[in-house]
Symmetry: C2
Subunit: 347 residues, 2 copies
């Protein structure tokens, strides 16, 4: 059945390999050299105005897209950045991560870079090693840091530029972080000034740098306000399946007036326990949290919390990475702000 022939030139029968149009095709069609075509596109090197326009017009018309990969090979670049995303199902500040990714992509795209994503479990260096050995990236962004950071450590031994979202003590690491310490310090102060002295601090993995930072802010607030800190109100490493649930009794026994949670997932669990125990928020006990994510968005009462701009963080991280890739010497540590959102749960 020979018919129509209306197939667009790029449609092919199954299995046939499609030859994309290349720079040679363009050069040949125009009767110029590849060099000239290349120059017209890149804007580098001298080239006659008329020639350039002729090339550009042809390219536009024939929908020629240079192969970024071939370009990269010639320049010893990849135009990719590796992004290592943590796979921790229980720490669901995911909307935050998605925003982060979005920010990264936004600035990466401006420089014609793409994101090579890799998800890895904490403590697992294999994914990163794979990325490194594949030689497919010009730099990498770590979306989360750890106190003893395996990935940052690996990268530091490399000459590949990288930036961490989150603080790290790995020597030479360029880092971008929200001001977790001062955020927690300010929120704690606000609570203390409301005459709420017994603030239980509920946090996750002590191995996360953020956990430490927040804890520090909490302590400083007590110092600032001249209130003695009670060690028995500190509850860290609470992300295990039932740890927090069991410690809740203790928290209440200690007479906590406020429960300050380091992330919304923990807070959600605290709220559940309180609900089951018929303890009312904020009447019987106040509650505050971090992240202001969708997880608690619908809670009644609304939850006082700290909010960080994931997108901004992502953008900044990517900018810092680009600076390094382009050979500049970026600011080592960049600290971004936060917002305190006061709501019903601490009234």
């Amino acid at each position: 059945m020979t018919c129509c022939g209306q197939d667009s030139p790029s449609r092919h029968r199954e299995g046939s390999v499609v030859k994309n149009i290349t720079i040679s095709d363009v050069a040949e069609a125009l009767g110029v050299s590849k060099t000239t075509v290349s120059r017209a596109i890149s804007g580098k090197g001298r080239i006659g105005k008329e020639t350039r326009e002729r090339v550009l017009a042809y390219i536009e018309e024939n929908n020629y897209k240079p192969s970024v990969i071939a370009k990269g090979l010639a320049q010893s670049k990849t135009y990719n950045i590796g992004v290592m995303m943590p796979a921790e199902y229980d720490i669901v500040d995911l909307p935050f991560f998605q925003n982060c990714l979005f920010g990264i992509q936004e600035v990466a795209a401006m420089k014609d870079y793409d994101i090579l994503l890799s998800i890895s479990h904490p403590g697992d260096g294999e994914q990163l090693k794979r990325v490194l050995s594949n030689r497919k990236v010009d730099g990498v962004i770590l979306m989360r840091t750890f106190v003893k950071d395996l990935q940052a450590g690996l990268l530091a031994k490399t000459d590949l530029p990288f930036v961490t979202i989150g603080t790290t003590d790995v020597e030479g690491a360029v880092q971008v972080d929200s001001d977790h310490k001062n955020a927690c310090r300010e929120l704690t102060s606000v609570l203390l000034k409301k005459q709420l002295k017994k603030i239980a601090l509920v946090g996750g993995d002590k191995g996360h740098v953020v956990t430490q930072k927040r804890f520090q802010g909490y302590r400083e607030a007590f110092l600032d306000c001249g209130v003695p800190l009670q060690e028995n109100l500190i509850f860290l490493d609470m992300e295990g399946p039932d740890v927090l649930e069991q410690q809740m009794e203790e928290i209440l026994v200690q007479g906590a007036e406020v429960i300050l949670c380091m992330d919304d997932m923990l807070c959600s669990r605290v709220l559940k326990k309180l609900r089951t125990r018929k303890i009312r928020v904020p009447k019987d006990v106040k509650v505050a949290s971090f992240y202001h994510s969708t997880i608690l968005e619908q809670n009644v009462p609304s939850i006082t919390s700290l909010s960080f701009d994931g997108k901004e963080l992502g953008q900044m991280a990517c900018r810092r990475l680009m600076e390094q890739i382009e050979g500049e010497n970026p600011q080592q540590v960049t600290v971004l702000g936060y917002r305190i959102i006061m709501a019903d749960s601490t009234e």
Copy 2:
């Protein structure tokens, strides 16, 4: 201060470009040709056992990693797959997406493929166009489909292999999906058989194929059970800021005995409204949801819901894509199962 000299060979002073060791270096060092080295690594073509081992040993020892990019260029492949992730902040079935990504990465890595991630807002084809024109991927996975699917449409006009997670009517698309229709049908049936006849259906964007599928399953369940379906209990397109909140009155006025929500975020909003109105679950009204995600995990009472395995979906999608890339003709439609999790909210 000339000291130590203990720097590992790959450490360099600032700015110095590091020449990675190449196949030529290896060949030269061993006194063989690049061809031989290449063959030793790839396992293709005849090569003496002893030679191969000598090459492999040297490579191992000197930590030589072939450039996947150069390899790709020579083979007209990229060893990347593009993954288009939706950016919809309100539809937070994100743990689901993360699982999906994880599944994709898992099987991709087995074939030495990497993930090129792109986040795009619904209706925005620019990101995909960028990916396509950059020529950096051998295929793409769409993580969500729409009734009129812009991205699938674009891809179909291409000769690039792609697979959608979610059903689509785009001609020729290879698709992998959970059995949303039957899932919803079965859950609805279960409820109907509990003599709960007035089941309000609360759903999101009618433009999402899943919304349609579920709606269909809901209808079929009514047919199966011989219960007439009440149009006034159908509430779709509820994801706007206040739409659902306003419709809640209507839902209650219509005397709904159960509110069946198409995703956990919607369900969370329903629960909030009920709580504010002092309407008790399951005493006054039953509630059921989809996804079984962390958002509702901590809810009291526990919520009856459908659960889908994101990771499995991702793995399958990636397998189907690989099959296409390798020139096989994959199954057009793959349907995966679901689980029904009965809990307190419908007791």
